[in-house]
Symmetry: C2
Subunit: 728 residues, 2 copies
């Protein structure tokens, strides 16, 4: 089989399981492997085994036939329906249901993945990669569709905009969770056009710190956040996943304190007391404070050194030394961040959440706090510490003289001038430009280049190793030596894919949300921010597609109906933007020189009043935008409405036939009257009639009621008329 | 039938329709009456007619038999299920369903009411009281259950607390909407115990304007608001109405601009463009401004006159004249409020909402704005205008000298002293006491006494009228002259009930919410506020019960799953409370004398900082309380969970039998292997096999996969071992 062909066919493989046994005793490994294959067979998965790279074997699985999927599809659809994701209960004949509503690729892969990984009690094979019993199962991954991927990347790289159909395609291939990321980034990209254009004009016409730009930017950020919420609902309905996040998937790592049997359902419920979790959650406060102090200290130190070197120090090597703090930050920041994120993960695990969703929300919140500090604190320091209090602080920066003492010619170069120091209003802008242009480009580059280097480096390393081994005479045979020639190219490809990393969509989402933060918080400093972002994001979207197709294993197509907790981060940044923008506009009015021309003339009450006013204007504005956006109709909501209507209609119609059986009174006329008479006669013959029966027996049928009513109306009118006339 | 008996039996009557024809030509009235009876008969309602008071006839209706209800019950339940109110689809056999889950009284009455009033297209009789074609239908009301009512009021007036069972009973009798009002008031009453106790201690120990009291009060208000939201969900599930507010009932007055036929559903959809509605809604802004200016001017004028008389004027009749502004307010305020509420209703109608819910929300918002101004503005004026700016404003109050000029002896009595005027710090407290004690008592009295007087006055007036008519010789015969003696007492009672007013639960709710506002906004001024309220509310709850039972017609038992838009008002007042309380605490620190002892020493920045700090502390607090409360489990949520579990279990079990049919692979062993071999043999004989088939054909059955996997593990281990040893 040629290499081209190997890329074309996936041999009908649904999932490949990479089984690694390097650290395990061979007998144990073999026994566990047998268990694995048996577990897969028990959920009706066909298997084939081939050798893999580096003490691993590759287990190929596919579903024996669609009929074997029925159980899982049905369970999944019933669960959806119970949670309101589907309007109607799934028909009991799954085969027909699947013919009427065939599975799309991502759905099929998701269901098979669930079949492999769900607990045995829920009908799955219970295989949990890298965990517990299945420690040897290194990964479970689907194979890339290379022909499609190539076409996809080619199409994207030649188009300016992604259409909804493009997003639909991602959803069909990679699942809703990833599709939501692309939809979000695409929405954001489209929304950036306006602030980019407006920002450019503002930069040209209004200068920096323009209140007009500030207001427009705050409105735009709010509109975007609220519009995206609306869009989420719409896409959720379009993709049939609205409400999916309410389906709670239990975490395997959840440790219950006690188990009780629900008296009504007979279900065994694992309980962990909420109060105990709350106690554990309280550790978040010292954690957040500790993280803020540690990261803040590092940032503030670098910042102090930088200010010292660039504005106090005037000895030799100044131009080189200014990079010293950047160097310190580059070295220590990732280390510290890594430790803290590690700690955050531990803490979240300790908090012992019952569902994946709760766990993810808790972790995301912590990660957001860390990212917030590392991304925005430097600018906050410049804007709200250096500028207003710079003249007070800078003279005390002598403490940093230690860092450059070796380079200084004499002590004078290390002393801050006691008087005459002026803050550098350009520092803030330079910093914002650094974070919104330089850092973004570096980031994008890293995202593409690092995995590439890693991959190729690994390949080269392996080749070197086997070359050396061959030289030494005891070469391990290439795993390919057992391959049937026909499958060789295909297996080679699978072995490569097995080595790839796992794509994590949340880190890409985080990047976008943090980027949005610069726009909402600081773009008033440098209105071209959005221009930089729009260019960056065009590449970002394509780079992410390339990353998924080339650098990573094909992701498991999870469902989602939202970008999750990042939505809250977005709202938070929008709100905070209203505070920072108004404060910056006030503090840097007169083009960066502070009100009245000097930072020292900043008035406390005026600053506070500006902030209060801006914040509450923002609240009112947000409310208005929410109301306005909620009025928007959307194809998604229309679709939902229609589905519900059809279900209701169906039920009503089914019921109609039943209703026919009930005795009619619509045209009762004589028929009913006669019946009534007969009954009445019968009744009065029974002397035991109640006052109620007698009351209702006085008028038989509606015609008699009408007749008596008529007479009552006539008599009333006639008798009353003399008096009425007198009154008139 | 004795009177006692008349109160005991309702003669199985479901609804009484009061048909009034005083202004209509008798022929037309008779024809319309026929239409009415016919419409009722068409939905299978039995009818009886009797004469009523004052040119009216009373049409009694009851459902012919429960079977006649089936259609409407089924429709209602399907609708509920589609909107997620019920977990499972209603069974198609309604009779069985009704036996399994019988209608409670309120549900039965609601369904019959819907049968009478729903449009013909939706299966109702389409009777709309007082509107359009049915202008003569004055009211449609159910009859009181007097025996139950007497017992109810007796039980309540001898108990301190209402239990959940008491609320369940209200729900079963009067429907969820009214039950929600009682549940809310009861919750509020129970929650008041703490601030009453704490407020009493604070008043005793901490004095007025205590920051400790302020913080505790703000926390309490937030806890109450958030707890009530949780409680609503719980009650909603308990009463099986959760999600009911999402079922949108179309408004009959909705005027569509165009009608389109939905291409998918074939449903005719009436459309009114959202943008046009938004334009109309923009009138709310001038309306709110206008109302604020009008009411504000009236309040400010009264306030100014009062301050002038009590603090500037020192002529004769001073003690009497101080009541002048109260008199002005008492006369003009209700008139102005009436006009504005009338205007608000017109505006809301003009805004042309499609659903009842949207209409009610829009109207409630406007009513809340009006109530907010009339209830709180006087105190706001005292606290935030009179106190800080009093010394500047009071000397200019000479303009009000006109109002008292006739009484003054000389001009000197009308002149404010140019200097030495000191604000009266007691004014604020007195005002708060007036609004939280006097006004509450007056209100409660009015609520009970006014309808009583109205009812008895009307009776006396009628008696006088008929006496006079009898004297003049052309007496209208009492309507009772046609009554069968047996029914006379019953009909007499029905005629009385026909004259009663219609109970409006929203006005009672509004009263409670406005009361809550005093607590959240101003209780820091006078910590005994909650003590006054707790006493007042004990009576209020009972008085409302009496009002419903005695003064009003039996209300139509509507469903609800929330107290509706008032919940937003509650949140708004809680938030605003954080601002006013913090501002008051700062401004009146030093026991009402302002920071440093003088109002003039209030610092702008310090006040603003206090407010900002308090507001954001409030936001954080609210978030924390929300999170904590969301963790609380509740019987309602447990019930919902159980219901869902049972439905799911039922479906899964039904599906199990189907799954059995699918070929098993769980214990495939030889069986499958043999099949596999045979198939394989067959396949390889066909030379047209694909690479995929060949790939999957290499290992037959999972046992072979295991065997080959084992050999791969063993070889890998053996061959690698020399190198591994070297590495170790």
């Amino acid at each position: 089989m040629a290499k081209g062909q190997a890329l074309e066919s996936n041999m009908d493989v649904d999932y490949v399981i990479s089984y690694r046994f390097v650290k395990t005793d061979k007998a144990v490994a073999a026994a566990k492997f047998e268990q694995l294959v048996q577990a897969l067979a028990s959920v009706r998965l066909q298997t084939e085994v081939r050798s893999g790279d580096n003490h691993s074997i590759l287990l190929f699985t596919k579903i024996a036939s669609d009929e074997h999927l029925f159980g899982e599809v049905y369970r999944s659809r019933v669960r959806d329906w119970i949670h309101g994701v589907r309007a109607a209960a799934p028909p009991k004949e799954t085969r027909e249901a699947l013919e009427a509503e065939p599975l799309y690729e991502a759905e099929r892969l998701r269901i098979i993945y669930q079949l492999i990984t769900n607990p045995v009690a829920e009908g799955g094979a219970g295989i949990t990669p890298k965990e517990g019993e299945w420690e040897n199962v290194e990964s479970v991954f689907a194979l890339h569709d290379h022909a499609y991927n190539a076409e996809w990347i080619k199409r994207w790289s030649t188009s300016y905009f992604l259409k909804t159909e493009d997003l639909d395609e991602i959803r069909n291939r990679l699942g809703e969770k990833i599709a939501f990321y692309f939809a979000f980034t695409q929405s954001y990209f489209a929304f950036l056009i306006f602030p980019a254009a407006f920002g450019f004009s503002a930069w040209f016409l209004l200068g920096h710190f323009s209140p007009i730009y500030g207001i427009v930017s705050a409105v735009w950020c709010t509109v975007f956040t609220e519009y995206w919420k609306h869009q989420e609902v719409d896409l959720g309905v379009r993709w049939g996943v609205r409400g999916v996040s309410k389906i709670e998937a239990k975490r395997k790592d959840f440790k219950h304190e006690k188990q009780i049997t629900d008296p009504v359902t007979g279900e065994t419920v694992s309980i962990f007391p909420a109060i105990k979790r709350l106690q554990r959650q309280l550790w978040q406060i010292p954690f957040a404070l500790g993280a803020a102090i540690l990261l803040g200290a590092l940032i503030a130190t670098c910042f102090g050194i930088e200010v010292f070197i660039s504005e106090v120090y005037n000895g030799p090597f100044k131009s080189g030394l200014v990079f010293l703090p950047t160097g310190i930050a580059t070295v220590f920041m990732p280390i510290l961040s890594g430790i803290l994120i590690n700690f955050a993960t531990k803490l979240t695990e300790y908090e012992n959440y019952e569902t994946h969703r709760a766990y993810e929300i808790a972790l995301t919140q912590k990660v957001f706090v860390l990212n917030f500090i590392t991304s925005y604190l430097p600018i906050f320091l410049t804007a709200f510490v250096y500028v207003p209090f710079g003249t007070l602080i800078v003279p005390h920066l002598d403490i940093f003289s230690l860092t450059v003492k070796p380079f200084a010619d004499n002590d004078k170069q290390l002393k801050a001038p006691k008087a005459g120091f002026a803050i550098n209003p350009d520092r803030l802008r330079k910093q914002v430009i650094y974070f919104t242009v330089t850092a973004q480009i570096v980031n994008l580059g890293m995202e593409l280049v690092v995995p590439y280097l890693k991959r190729h480096g690994l390949l080269r390393f392996k080749k070197m190793q086997s070359d050396r081994a061959a030289k030494n005479g005891h070469a391990a045979p290439a795993p390919a030596h057992t391959d049937v020639p026909e499958d060789a190219a295909f297996l080679d490809r699978v072995r490569q894919e097995a080595e790839l990393g796992v794509y994590d969509v949340t880190s890409d989402l985080r990047e976008m949300v943090i980027q949005f933060g610069y726009l909402s918080l600081f773009s008033v400093v440098w209105p071209l921010t959005a221009v930089s972002f729009i260019i960056n994001d065009w590449f970002e979207l394509r780079a992410d597609a390339v990353k998924i197709c080339v650098e990573m294993q094909r992701p498991i197509p999870w469902r989602a109906d939202t970008i999750g907790p990042w939505l809250d981060s977005l709202s938070f940044l929008t709100w905070l933007g209203s505070l920072t923008t108004s404060a910056l506009v006030y503090m840097f009015s007169n083009d960066g020189l502070g009100p009245g021309g000097h930072p020292s003339s900043i008035k406390g009450w005026a600053l506070l009043l500006t902030i209060i006013f801006a914040e509450h204007a923002f609240f009112v504005l947000r409310w208005g935008i929410r109301v306005a956006i909620s009025k928007l109709d959307s194809p998604g909501l229309q679709k939902e409405h229609r589905e519900r209507f059809l279900v209701r209609k169906h039920y009503f119609e089914e019921n109609l036939s039943q209703l026919e059986k009930v005795p009619q009174m619509t045209e009762p006329g004589e028929a009913i009257n006669r019946k009534g008479l007969e009954e009445d006669a019968r009744r009065s013959s029974l002397k035991a009639s109640t006052p109620e029966d007698r009351f209702w027996g006085r008028q038989r049928g509606w015609k008699e009621t009408v007749a008596i009513g008529r007479s009552l109306i006539e008599t009333a009118n006639v008798e009353m008329s003399p008096e009425r006339k007198k009154e008139l």
